[in-house]
Symmetry: C2
Subunit: 166 residues, 2 copies
């Protein structure tokens, strides 16, 4: 990842690009029904073959692990990605895998860092596709000034969009 | 871990002692309701503080990560431990965190390796405490010649015991 010398980091949250060594952890998080109930394309725990195929066939996409600092120790609590990097407004997706950390504002900080990355790279904005049942995620994007622009995916998700100021 | 030069390994399954770097993965697996529904002491996703406190206060116990070889690549699929190491017959506990690998016999191979460890270390047998709702785990221990010896923990679990041949 080229982040042009600008670290994707706050005091307690930082993004580190995901590697193959993170695949079991990502799969573990994504195989939790309390998490995948908000995913459009998934309704059961993942199979390794699907997971590795998805990983190796990714294109125009960056995946980071969200790291939290707590008691001077960093740990991995979730995942954030930017996909459709050939669009003017790429799409941000995320989840906090550590369920008991939900509602602490960590996801919001991670999205701020992803937005910083996109601004630094001269994109004009970003989108996010959020389950209509995921009220927490809707609030997160609204607090960051994303606007709800349409109903998508058989009316199961909202499309959120933000335009960066020039 | 001193395994006296004897590797805890089959062709496709091996045990590697767990480290702090595995804590997020273990917590992710243990925070899945499809997994913790079989745990006596847990009915919700874990909190980090509880998890790290448990980890750091372990005594008389070894924890391994169960690794599976697939397409010449090893990956982490679950966790097995032996506790009560000051007893003559220590207790084996395990789970396969990768849900879509259940029923493949990997847990059974992991228990065989844990038994090998105990035999090598001159224990006289082993026990296991299994939820009465966890039929798969009951079969696993029965296939390995454990005997159901009593009903424990408010009649929610079976105690299984094996005596090693002299």
């Amino acid at each position: 990842m080229n982040d042009m010398g600008k670290k994707l980091q706050f005091e307690d949250i930082k993004l580190i690009e995901a590697t193959k060594d993170d695949l079991e952890l990502i799969m573990g998080w994504r195989s939790n029904p309390l998490i995948y109930k908000y995913f459009y394309h998934q309704n059961a725990p993942l199979k390794w073959d699907e997971h590795i195929t998805f990983w190796e066939s990714r294109k125009n996409r960056i995946d980071w692990i969200i790291n939290l600092r707590y008691n001077s120790h960093w740990r991995k609590i979730g995942s954030i990605n930017i996909s459709k990097l050939t669009d003017e407004k790429p799409e941000i997706g995320l989840f906090i895998g550590e369920l008991t950390s939900w509602g602490s504002g960590y996801g919001k900080k991670a999205v701020k860092l992803a937005l910083k990355y996109l601004k630094n790279t001269n994109y004009t904005g970003a989108t996010a596709s959020v389950s209509k049942e995921n009220i927490g995620s809707q609030k997160l994007f609204e607090q960051l000034n994303f606007k709800r622009t349409s109903s998508i995916k058989l009316d199961k998700e909202w499309l959120y969009t933000i335009e960066f100021k020039k």
